[in-house]
Symmetry: C2
Subunit: 206 residues, 2 copies
DNA sequence: CTGATAGTAGGCCGATCGGCCTAATAGATA
DNA sequence: TATCTATTAGGCCGATCGGCCTACTATCAG
């Protein structure tokens, strides 16, 4: 009888397994970044990674899972970065400012990754044509911002407004900044961030 | 020799030709509205219009031209509506307010059409994967808003800000409203409009 | 050495799409 | 009526995609 934990055949380190997945995920990101989501077929991704298409099928359940991992990874990185900045602020106004600032800071230093994930989130659809990531992603951002704003409202820090509306608008403002910067990389994101911070500070203060 | 203006064969009224195009355009709008852009193949559109696929090919150069006409028509209608509202205002602040208000008013009374064109603009890509309408559409909206804002800046009506940034943010805010309303039709667009008007009024005033 | 098995390569399959071709139809003109 | 041509129906074609299958390779246990 065999040991269940030790099958007979080749048993590489699971680290290699994980490394392979990372390699494929990275290749997917780079492919989307260079040719866009619409052209990023499994063939193109495999070609970019210099592997066979079936390697992707072997390590991922399908294209859906691969893209899901891509989005998940980049969002996790982004969130880690932003969260650290949020924690240094105590007031709602400060947290709102920090959110805008850190968001655009992150974009600036991870251009291709952010553009790639933006393309994927905006373009990838389920079999029935409904957006696969766009809604859930937006929802989580809006929830976070709404919480910050509601705190400020409860503390009497802000004027009276609908936190949902302002949250959506802040989120969309950042997407707008990303869009402008995607079209024209010479846009000064630092100045852009300052403009938005002033805009929403005036929009929310008493 | 034949008269050039009067060929021998059947020569229906060109009005019928135009009516056919309108019928196809309407069918395309309804198809996108009901099943989404991703599922709106030429077959589906033809099926919805109860005609053969080749009728579309006969009256339009291709899917690109059909969708172009769809977008062009709906934008023309929208613009006519909004422009009338803008003309009643003289101050920049008033025009900005009217723009936001009339935009959301139009959405409310033409839900399916606006959602359809939004889906098309956001999803339709050229053969190389680049957005076909999204960029040019955004650009024209931003240009219009920038002009309004610049007028207000020149007249000393507004505080000092970058009109590009505010224009992009206003445009995105409206897209955000559309997005929320697409997900949840019970959203009160009148209240939403008032929130946005107040928000941007405070954001731009001196 | 030998067998078992994880991992990889390459190619094939069914589905879908937009575009195109061909034949049939119908109405206007002579 | 005979004929010409605008219009339509239906089906086919080439391309592309994601997923799957089969065979080959490399490595490790015994």
């Amino acid at each position: 009888m065999q040991s269940e934990d030790r099958p007979i055949g080749r048993k590489r380190n699971p680290i290699i397994e994980e490394a392979r997945r990372r390699q494929i995920i990275d290749a997917a990101i780079e492919t989307v970044a260079s040719v866009g989501y619409a052209q990023a077929s499994l063939s193109r991704i495999a070609q970019h990674a210099r592997i066979s298409k079936s390697v992707i099928s072997y390590h991922f359940a399908g294209k859906d899972e691969l893209l899901e991992q891509v989005v998940k990874q980049i969002y996790a990185d982004t969130w880690t970065f932003i969260q650290a900045r949020l924690e240094t602020e105590t007031t709602a106004a400060g947290r709102l400012r920090a959110y805008i600032q850190s968001n655009l800071d992150y974009l600036r230093s991870h251009r291709s990754r952010v553009l790639a994930v933006g393309d994927i989130v905006g373009s990838h659809r389920a079999a029935d044509g409904t957006p696969r990531f766009a809604t859930t992603t937006d929802e989580s951002v809006i929830t976070l911002l709404t919480d910050i704003l509601r705190q400020g409202l409860d503390d009497g820090e802000f004027r009276d407004f609908d936190p949902q509306v302002v949250a959506v608008t802040v989120g969309q403002a950042l997407i707008g900044a990303l869009g402008r910067w995607a079209v024209d990389p010479t846009v000064d994101l630092t100045a852009y961030a300052n403009e938005l911070i002033t805009l929403f500070d005036r929009a929310t203060r008493k």
